[in-house]
């Protein structure tokens, strides 16, 4: 199954770090480099993957999904994406009741210097279906300057489940502006994991989810920000239907990077529940973490709560580990790893292992 796409060994390694791995069992695969789709292939008849431009031509209803959730006039970046003649990105559909066990992998790769990559992705999970996405984003090590703007729209049908795990490995000269939105219908579930372990010049993003009756949305962000990185990340979840629930969890380690982490939960109707936990660990005095948790209740019977913390590595924990014979460096490493080890609920065990593995790889590849 290897050598499906012409990539150098070096490139393959870079892609593997963000979860795009030709050796792993997947239900389908999508790869775009710069402005071109290199691969869009399902390995299972349960899923459909097409370049989004093709899907628009093939199905007349897809047209209505494009900018159906994200406002094209939201900002300059969405406007740029909208202006594209032919959108670059994927259309993924899981048909009603299909439970796709193996993850589907997608990857956007900036290969050439000075590229502005603009993407538009549409995900449709029909009622009662299940889909696990692993989305990698990576820039070639030789890219001196690059930009990635992306719009992603998730349509999650009644009782459907979509989990998406996004791993970014952009490099110190790339700026990134993803714009994502999800609509979770009655009893649906949307779990979004966002992992950044390597340097990036600037990322600014705040996905939005609207959750209908009995639905669930969970946003997890796991961020390691070395010096030179600047991130403004967060998410908004609107609980619109009765018994809708959500959770926002962010774990941020700043090793010199500047990080703003936002979270916003809006309880629009009675009987909704949402919790948020934003925890930051500063391991380098040059870094900063600014946690901005927001809760908004628009009805008297909502249950929303948050906890936030920003602090240094505890001296007690450090000296406890060192008194057992670990060097200070090793002790710090353990504490940081532990801090970032968020147990994401609602994921199949195999995927959990995959993600843990990916985080490890992403961490190992982090530039010095």
């Amino acid at each position: 199954m290897s050598n499906r796409v012409q990539l150098t060994l070096e490139e393959r390694k870079g892609l593997e770090r963000v979860g795009y791995d030709e050796q792993q069992e997947r239900s389908g695969t999508f790869l775009a480099a710069d402005h071109r789709v290199l691969e869009a292939k399902p390995f299972s008849d349960q899923v459909e993957i097409l370049p989004v431009a093709l899907a628009i031509r093939e199905y007349d209803w897809v047209h209505d999904l494009v900018f159906g959730l994200v406002d094209p006039d939201k900002d300059e970046y969405t406007r740029m994406v909208k202006k594209q003649m032919e959108p670059l990105g994927y259309f993924i559909r899981v048909k009603e009741g299909q439970e796709v066990i193996l993850p589907l992998q997608t990857c956007f790769y900036i290969r050439t210097d000075q590229t502005t990559q603009m993407t538009h992705n549409i995900i449709v999970a029909e009622p009662g279906s299940t889909l696990h996405l692993i989305s990698g984003c990576v820039a070639d090590a030789h890219v001196d300057k690059g930009r990635h703007l992306g719009v992603t729209e998730y349509y999650i049908g009644e009782g459907a489940t979509v989990t998406t795990t996004m791993i970014h490995s952009w490099g110190p000269n790339v700026t990134v502006y993803p714009r994502a939105a999800a609509h979770v219908k009655k009893g649906g579930r949307f779990i979004s994991n966002y992992v950044v372990m390597s340097p990036v010049k600037h990322i600014q993003m705040a996905p939005e989810a609207v959750v209908e009756e009995g639905g669930l949305a969970e946003f997890y962000s796991i961020v390691y920000a070395p010096e030179g990185s600047s991130l403004d990340i967060g998410g908004t979840i609107r609980l619109k239907g009765e018994q809708a629930r959500c959770e926002i969890v962010s774990r941020v380690v700043s090793d010199g990077g500047k990080v703003i982490t936002r979270g916003c939960i809006v309880g629009e109707v009675d009987g909704v529940q949402g919790t948020m936990a934003c925890n930051g660990l500063l391991v380098n005095p040059r870094g900063s973490i600014h946690a901005i948790p927001e809760l908004e209740g628009k009805s008297p019977l909502v249950l929303l709560s948050h906890e936030a913390s920003v602090g240094m590595i505890s001296q007690d924990e450090l000296s406890y580990l060192m008194a057992s014979g670990l060097s200070e460096e090793r002790a710090r490493e353990l504490i940081i790893q532990g801090f970032l080890d968020v147990r994401i609920k609602g994921l199949p065990e195999a995927l959990h292992k995959t993600i843990a593995e990916m985080i490890k790889k992403a961490k190992a590849g982090e530039a010095v």
Binding site: Q315, S319, A323, L326, A331, L334, I335, G338
Partner: protein, 252 residues
């Protein structure tokens, strides 16, 4: 008489500018087990923490030698690497670090499985280190920690406090094994320094010497069982009156 493992001379230690240890003298020989008694707040834990080089314990006077080498001023990892282990009275919880990850990272023994089994800790392997551990679980996992380190100097800060009677036997078994209490004295290379309030540990672990700690110094040294019985009968001060005051320098 074997060689000296730990030698503390006229040790003065401050915490946040407050004088806590006020001239401690103590010599622990190779293969010996010493017991520290003393009221709450008298400085027992401070002494063990100072030997381990924990930050915040400022040594203002005196010296600590391990196998002849001065270790005061060394970092905790340097001291641990030389063969000093400390089971904490109150170990901190470390989120996200599994007990077993920690144990494997620090182990100097080739196989930890028998120690897990002996201390009945298998079920805690995948739990976050010390997070939400019950009182007894904490004490057993601290014992496991020290056992896998297999240090030459085994320091245990109240290893049986809050532990049920059956598990005191379990912990004591592990202590005896670690201190090679089944071997003849001349074959033992490990030494112990154990703090206890309850004295239960004395029913299981044969100790060579006891010391009473009051007001930041050792005020009396004698047979540990004798000391414990006197403390039970007359309290700490009474015990000192009865057994006689130790004078500075009278340590070996």
């Amino acid at each position: 008489m074997g060689s000296v493992m730990l030698e503390i001379k006229d040790l003065w230690v401050e915490i946040e500018g407050r004088s806590i240890l006020k001239g401690v003298n103590l010599v622990v020989g190779e293969g010996e087990v010493h017991i520290l008694f003393g009221p709450n707040g008298s400085g027992k834990s401070t002494l063990l923490s100072s030997v381990s080089g924990l930050p915040g314990y400022r040594i203002v006077k005196g010296s600590i030698r391990f196998r002849g080498e001065r270790i005061d001023g060394f970092r905790p990892d340097e001291i641990a690497k030389r063969g000093v282990g400390l089971a904490f009275q109150r170990p901190p919880a470390i989120k996200g670090v599994k007990l077993d990850t920690f144990i494997q990272a620090i182990a100097n023994v080739s196989d930890c499985a028998p120690l897990y089994r002996e201390l009945e800790l298998d079920y805690l392997k995948d739990r976050d280190l010390n997070a939400g551990f019950s009182g007894g679980e904490l004490k057993r996992s601290e014992m496991l920690k020290v056992a896998v380190q297999a240090p030459e100097l085994v320091m245990l800060d109240e290893p049986e406090s809050g532990v049920d009677l059956e598990h005191i036997a379990v912990i004591s078994g592990a202590i005896n094994k670690l201190l090679e209490k089944d071997s003849p004295c001349s074959d033992r290379s490990r030494s112990g320094l154990i703090i206890t309030h309850t004295g239960y540990i004395l029913d299981y672990v044969k100790a060579d010497r006891g010391h009473v700690f009051i007001g930041g110094r050792i005020v009396c040294t004698d047979d540990p069982l004798e000391i414990f019985h006197e403390i039970q009968k007359r309290g700490y001060e009474g015990c000192v009156h009865r057994l006689g005051q130790q004078t500075i320098g009278d340590v070996s």
